[in-house]
Symmetry: C2
């Protein structure tokens, strides 16, 4: 069934309104008519099955048939911090990460980042990334659109680590066959120490094409991150985020891992 | 370190030869010179560290310094069968699937496939997909290039299922919130029944954008497949293969899951 994410103010007690692109999509692309049903969500707490009252290309009103529970959001809130990759790879990370179940995305700057970051373009890029997250969340039938945070400096990223219950830093020291801990070991060690946390906030940090420097790994570790590896094959930067997120959610009992 | 996959006949007891695109890449792009080292693999059993003797844009000869063990291939040989998706999504599945560790790829036809398959283009597409697999295997430091099998009809796919120790069919009956078994449950049930298989051959079957029909699911189940789900969020077809492969390898002890 079609889903739309709408702002909280488009909800009233008994009705909802679609406006802008969503109204156009419902009226013109889906050719929705009175009585047709779809699902709306405010992206946070409210999700409802609604039936169309009136539809035009600028405004669709619908009455709430039933409030729905939140049954598609993971218990673990995993934020994916990705050092800015080349080209449009960040778009792939956000689209796939949203489908898989990321809670939020933090693009950040690191020493060996290959791209030249253009601050003037930041607002536009974040707007575009947010749109990709919204569309992917609708398609994946999620009740929540992951937030795209503004670009963090390395210092800001390190500082933000204290907001999380667990921070995993994907890293393999160059030329070493001995990798960091695996995800499973890292989670088991953390659970043994922290006890049962019902909805843990986890930060998963992924380097860009150039990887991290030893100094960055040392600083992350000093700030409380656990260094982890994702196995014996070398994953491209955009693959590492998708795979790391999948493994973490699988280990938490999602993705068929229960 | 740079890797090249070469044909078995380019190996002799003490030397190897790069020809064609690989020679051009080594001589012109990497500007390799006598004494420089790189790794070659025949994509199956032999992987060697070599040192360049002579390099030109058409022929690079190098002596074998050391034969290397196979330490990057997964124990589980997982073949990803993907119903032909739209556009260039199959390329993404093959690139990411190769990085993650797929053993082979089987594109196949199913009832609700959205694309019109063009048999005349098949040879060219398989050539292109094989090139993508080779490049991804080199980049991921794999010792083996996954095979791309020719397009299978639904009947051929069903018939091929007897070649595998375990067949997982990703499926969610429409409108049902109760999904198939999770990957973990399916693996545990299979292990309990089959005992320890050291290098199991597994077939993971993924539908295209239109999904599978109930009849296809019934036929797959009748032929021995286990129906599995990948969690509560709806994954795009190209995401399902990447996620399913990651979960299976993680469950087998790869990707940091040991």
């Amino acid at each position: 069934m079609q889903r739309y994410f709408i702002a909280a103010e488009q909800f009233s007690d008994s009705e909802i309104r679609l406006i802008g692109d969503d109204a156009h999509h419902a009226a013109r692309v889906m050719r929705t008519k009175p009585g047709d049903k779809f699902i709306v969500s405010d992206g946070e707490s409210r999700t409802a099955l609604v039936a169309v009252l009136e539809a035009s290309a600028t405004l669709v009103t619908a009455e709430i048939v039933e409030m729905l529970g939140n049954d598609s959001e993971p218990k673990w809130a995993i934020t994916l911090a990705q050092s800015l990759p080349k080209g449009d790879k960040m778009e792939l990370v956000i689209q796939k990460g949203t489908e898989i179940g990321a809670y939020a995305f933090v693009p950040f700057q690191s020493e060996r980042m290959v791209v030249q970051y253009d601050a003037k373009k930041e607002a536009k890029r974040i707007e575009r990334w947010s749109k990709i997250a919204k569309e992917a969340a609708e398609q994946a039938h999620r009740n929540r659109v992951p937030a795209i945070e503004p670009l963090h400096s390395w210092r800001e990223l390190i500082k933000s680590m204290s907001n999380y219950d667990l921070v995993l830093f994907c890293y393999e020291r160059e030329g070493h066959l001995a990798h960091g801990r695996g995800v499973r070991t890292a989670i088991n060690e953390w659970t043994a120490q922290a006890g049962e946390v019902s909805s843990p906030k986890v930060l998963l940090i992924i380097g860009s094409e150039g990887g991290f420097t030893d100094r960055e790994a040392d600083e992350a570790e000093a700030a409380g991150a656990v260094l982890v590896g994702l196995g014996r094959r070398i994953l491209r930067t955009e693959t590492a985020g998708i795979v790391g997120l999948t493994c973490l959610l699988y280990e938490s009992g999602e993705m068929g891992g229960a």
